[in-house]
Structures are given as structure tokens and as C-alpha cells.
Subunit: 298 residues, 2 copies
């Protein structure tokens, strides 16, 4: 595969209506040179995550096509779900693969952001490596107030969109576009319906409340009815999946609650899972090159 590759992971605010999700996925499939790697929908979040990869110019086309379909088919005035969101196409992150740099992704984010306003009249916030100010780096800060509070937020000091007028798209809200390193979306379900326990655990483990570095977490209710700690691992070299699982297990135990199960949303780098095995088995002298398939893929 080419060394100039970018991954794009848009989140759209639809996790229930299969025909809408299919239509958005088809918009990706129709772009030559782009591969749809993963599509995952969560009914209780009412949200879907698409992962696709390809060369930068083709990725831009696919990202714009996704946004166009989402704006067309999703009316945020009728949207309800567990996950905070600003718009129909809620966030469009660009992620470097291989020799591609984060700066390449910032450039692409800017270019796509311009197109989204010009073509779709969608106001754009830039975040993460593409952010225009320090208080606009983190998604949770940008999303605070959600779609319902967006008109008011856009008027507030420091919260005008980076591109477009300070007025939400009537049905599609706004979109957050940015460039970031690979991230793992990871949900841990607790053996209780009590969402307050998931929220308490999330507060203990997330960086913003003094917990584990490079970890974002919130407590929500999963489709199963169980309380769920919904986590983003921003840098697995800083805090590993094994560490965050153990932290959640241990915090839940303080409440007399066990972990029911967990789920990885979308794609995960091989090293993240090898590290779980390495930690659990107390493996010593283990090298990634010992994995048969890593030898065969070279």
C-alpha cells in the first residue's frame, strides 16, 4: 500500500435507521481508491462510526460525501441518544498512517472544513492538532451544550466557528473537523443498570478529573441496559488498554460492581492488543516479530 495514506473516522448521529447508515456508507464505497475498513453502529448512542483509508485527495472526497449524505438524511431536531453531539456529521478526524504526518492531516482538515461550509453551509470547528485555540483542542469542550445549545454557544465569547457564520445549520448543527493520532474507542460494561456508578468510575479514571493521562471517559447507559464506561484511549504508549481495564475493574469493585464485558469500537492497532496479552501473561522478551502474521505481511 502507498506510504501516503490517511485514515478518516467520521462519526454520524444515526445508529438506528439501517437505510440511513447504509446510504452514508455507500457514499464512501463509491469513491475510487478509498477502502471502507469498518462500520459500527450503536443504537443507544444513536451514532455510527465509519473508518476508511486512502490517499489524501480521495479521502477528502469521501469525507465530504459522507457529510453531504448525513446532512441530507439526518435531522438533529429529532435526534436523541446517549452520546453528546453537535451535528448530523458530528466529528471528522483525519489520522496519519505510515509515512503520513499529522501536519498532512491538519492541511486536509482545513481543506475539507472549507468545502463543508462552501458546499453544505455547515459551520466548522477545528479540533485536536487542527484547533485554532487551546480551549478548542478537546472534543468534550467543543461539544458542551450539544446541538440543542449550539445557537447560544456560537454567540458566546471564544466559541464562534472557525469557518462559516455563527449560526447552526438548522437540521445538521455544526461539524468538528480535525487531525489526531490513532485513537481507540473502548467501552467497558458494568454489571449494574446504575449509570451513576459508571459516571463515578469515569470521573476517577479520566485525565480531565485528575485520572489516567491520555484517557477520556464518560458514564452512559448501554443498549443492554447496563451502565457503561465509554472511553477514548488517546495514546496507548501513555496509558494502555490493559491499564485502563484494570483501573475500571478496580474502581467498580469499590462500588461492589464487576465488569460484565467490554467492546472495542472500530479499529484497534495490533500493538494495543499485543500489549494486553503481554501484560496479562507477564510475557518477557516478547517481540511483535514473533507474531506469525507480522512476518508474512512484510
Amino acid at each position: 500500500m502507498s506510504s501516503r495514506l490517511i485514515e478518516c473516522v467520521p462519526n454520524i448521529s444515526e445508529g438506528r435507521r439501517a437505510e440511513v447508515i447504509d446510504a452514508v456508507a455507500d457514499a464512501v464505497r463509491r469513491v475510487d481508491g478509498v477502502r471502507l475498513l469498518n462500520l459500527q453502529s450503536d443504537a443507544s448512542h444513536n451514532r455510527s462510526v465509519l473508518t476508511f483509508a486512502g490517499p489524501p485527495d480521495r479521502i477528502a472526497d469521501a469525507a465530504i460525501a459522507v457529510a453531504a449524505r448525513a446532512v441530507d438524511l439526518i435531522d438533529m431536531r429529532a435526534h436523541a441518544g446517549e452520546h453528546p453531539r453537535l451535528g448530523a456529521v458530528d466529528v471528522i478526524p483525519f489520522v496519519p498512517i505510515g509515512a503520513t504526518t499529522i501536519d498532512d492531516c491538519v492541511g486536509l482538515a482545513r481543506q475539507v472544513g472549507e468545502a463543508l461550509w462552501t458546499r453544505l453551509r455547515l459551520p466548522v470547528y477545528f479540533y485536536a492538532a487542527a484547533a485554532s485555540a487551546p480551549h478548542r483542542v478537546r472534543l468534550p469542550d467543543i461539544r458542551k451544550g450539544e446541538f440543542e445549545g449550539l445557537a447560544e454557544k456560537m454567540e458566546a465569547e471564544g466559541w464562534a466557528p472557525d469557518i462559516g457564520e455563527a449560526r447552526p445549520h438548522p437540521t445538521a448543527g455544526a461539524v468538528v473537523v480535525g487531525a489526531r493520532k490513532p485513537l481507540v474507542a473502548y467501552n467497558i460494561n458494568l454489571n449494574t443498570p446504575d449509570v451513576r456508578i459508571a459516571r463515578a468510575v469515569a470521573r476517577r479514571i479520566r485525565e480531565s478529573s485528575g485520572g489516567l493521562p491520555a484517557v477520556q471517559a464518560m458514564g452512559v447507559r448501554a443498549a443492554s441496559g447496563l451502565a457503561q464506561v465509554s472511553i477514548n484511549l488517546l495514546d496507548m504508549n501513555t496509558t494502555s488498554m490493559a491499564q485502563v481495564f484494570e483501573a475500571v475493574r478496580s474502581e467498580a469493585e469499590q462500588h461492589g460492581i464487576e465488569v460484565a464485558d467490554s467492546e472495542i469500537v472500530g479499529l484497534v492497532p495490533l500493538d494495543t492488543l499485543l500489549d494486553v496479552a503481554r501484560t496479562h501473561l507477564r510475557l518477557r522478551d516478547f517481540d511483535r516479530a514473533q507474531v506469525l502474521e507480522t512476518q508474512l505481511m512484510e
Copy 2:
């Protein structure tokens, strides 16, 4: 990655003389389309394990080349080592990769077996999935009597070789050729120098003493001085690495002993380690296709 790939893991009866080991490894490296993935020598076993992979016809050439060099350079009349063995090239297992089936490997074993007799006058026993009778499935049964007892064994009821005359090659003995699923060699070190505890744990967990199916185990002393449970996992779908780790941990605990660490010898299939992560994290709905690298290698 081609879907028609086979792995071959010959064991040769030389673990000390570097020039012999190198010459045998070079025989593999010279075959176009075959990749030498791993080479591990054990001086006290006086034995080396080569791992290589490629398309079936190329793998046959490489396996025959390995045998030819081993027959040429190793004289079993002068061989001593800890590990039981029948011949200079002691065993040649073929292992399916990806879409390849075990039947493909049985076919290849038969073809290579014929060539080893025709070209090298090496008598051949087929084992595992290629075995010609139930009592000839297991390597330890075929190897019983070793090189020194081979002439007598070949005369005994039920122990004539599958191919060739019932008389050992004078310097190279015989070769065991077969087809098997991937096997993982896995050692778990206990926090004690008492080898009797490792032996007791091994007896409890291995299939031959009524323990876990598809698990071979013995207690030994590791180079570090710690007691070690040395394990072969014959079928990870029957007993997984996570299960065997937990069994050893739990049995050792009965003796008041903890697991110090563990080590994987040679190569391990990706699925084996993914299963450890899946078990430890209680992952649900996790698919191998969610590993980013499995998408990019296609």
C-alpha cells in the same frame, strides 16, 4: 498475502555447531519465494528449529533441501542431547496458514516423504494428520527407542516405516513427516527453584495425565534457576493460551507459589494472542478484522 501458504517447521539434530546450523538455514534462504521466519537452537537439546513459509511447491523444495543438508552434515552415531530424536532431520511438520487446509498439508507431507526416500534413502514415518495408523499419530510414540533403537523398532510389529525399507539410514536414521495445526511452545516460570512443583503442575494440566485437552507439559529448571512448566499448545481452539495460563496460575497457587513470568518460544499465530486479549478484557463481538494491520495487509 497469498491465500495458498504453508508453514514448515523442521527440527534438525544439531544445536551446537554454528557452521552446520548456518548451512542448513542457507539451504532454505536459497529457495525463491520461501521466507525463513525463525531459527532457534538449543545447545543442551543439541537441536535446532527452523520456521519458514511460502507457497506449497516452494515449501516442498525447501524442506527437501533442509533434509539433504542435514543428512550430509549430521552423523547421528556421534549425536548426544537432552531431547529425544530418531534422525538427523528429526521431524518435518507442515502447517496450514490462512485459507490453506490441513488436507493440503497432508498431501504435501506425502509428496515430500516420497522424495526423501527416493533422493536421500531416508525411511519416512508419517505422523499427526498424515499418520497411517492411530498408534503412529503422536511424535513421542514414534520417537520411543530413539536413533539408537531404530533398527530394532523398524522390525517390530506395526513399526515398519511408511515409505522406504525397514532399515535406518546409517548416519541419518529416519525422518518423521506430517501435517498439523499451528502449535505454540510456551513456558511459564514459577517463583520457586523447586522443580518438583513445576512437575506437579505439569502433571495436573497435561492431557496425558487427564488434564487439559491438546496440552503437553513437563516440569524443568529454566536457565534462570526458576522452576518452569514447559508447554506445547497443540490446538488453541481446544485449549487456549489464556486457559493454560490460568490453569498453571491456579495450580501453582495451591502450592503457595506465583507465576513469575512466561515466554513464547518462536512464532505464535495472531489469533492466539488476540484470544488472550479477548479473554482478559472480556471482549464481546470482537472480530480479527478490527485489527488495523489485518486490513492494511490485504
